[in-house]
Symmetry: C2
């Protein structure tokens, strides 16, 4: 993704939803489930990512949120490079045992890789809502 | 899924995570993104499901949470048969525009298809946490 593409996707108000996402995720060759990540204190939903057995095991053993990076095809320990580590409180499992919910505490600035105007990481990836066919910033 | 299988998966304390889930979801042939669903008032995460363009359009037009059923391969308007409708408050989109967050209000008993001891629908699908390699009920 070029810088211009990222800017348009992440900081714009155009609705450009990539419905091909799960097809691409499946193509990475790993057996994965989606993971919703929620702040244990504020209850904000911060990010949705993917985990395989390796990522879940790492998360439980090390007490920090880990995922499987479907673009880099490798274990992704959130915050390992950015410092925005997510300290694990607990892992919830859904009724049918095919998705996870990580309850966490932010040790860094936020869970999103995008930045607020002041240069800090946004807390949540869900900083825009759909309104009249466009995206509107909510924070 | 037989009744015994469902009982074991949904009401047991064995960790039986189906990591093949996203592979199966991708095979349904629809272009989909994951959707986390959160109670707009209590902030509980209730369910994670999947939406294609049709489901998102239905959700926005009718003001109720709709998904794509990857098992039945059809539009799934939550509550259409159970009565457990989820009234839409807003749809949030993540930074990379490849997942959704529906903020909703419960019009029925809950968002989960499983039942509490008193026979009412559980509010959330995330009623168990992982503890020492097993599942523990949290509500």
């Amino acid at each position: 993704m070029t810088k211009i593409d990222a800017e348009r996707l992440e900081e714009g108000n155009e609705l450009l939803i990539d419905f091909e996402k799960l097809g691409k995720v499946a193509q990475c060759g790993e057996a994965l489930v989606p993971v919703a990540v929620q702040d244990a204190d504020t209850k904000e939903v911060l990010i949705v990512a993917y985990a395989n057995e390796t990522a879940l095991k790492y998360t439980l053993e090390h007490g920090v949120a880990a995922f499987w990076s479907t673009s880099r095809d490798e274990l992704w320990v959130k915050g390992a490079t950015s410092g925005d580590t997510l300290q694990l409180v607990e892992v919830r499992v859904n009724c049918e045992q095919n998705s996870l919910l990580y309850l966490i505490r932010l040790l860094g600035e936020g869970a999103c890789h995008t930045k607020c105007a002041d240069g800090t990481s946004r807390r949540s990836c869900y900083y825009r809502r759909i309104k009249d066919g466009k995206l509107e910033f909510v924070e």
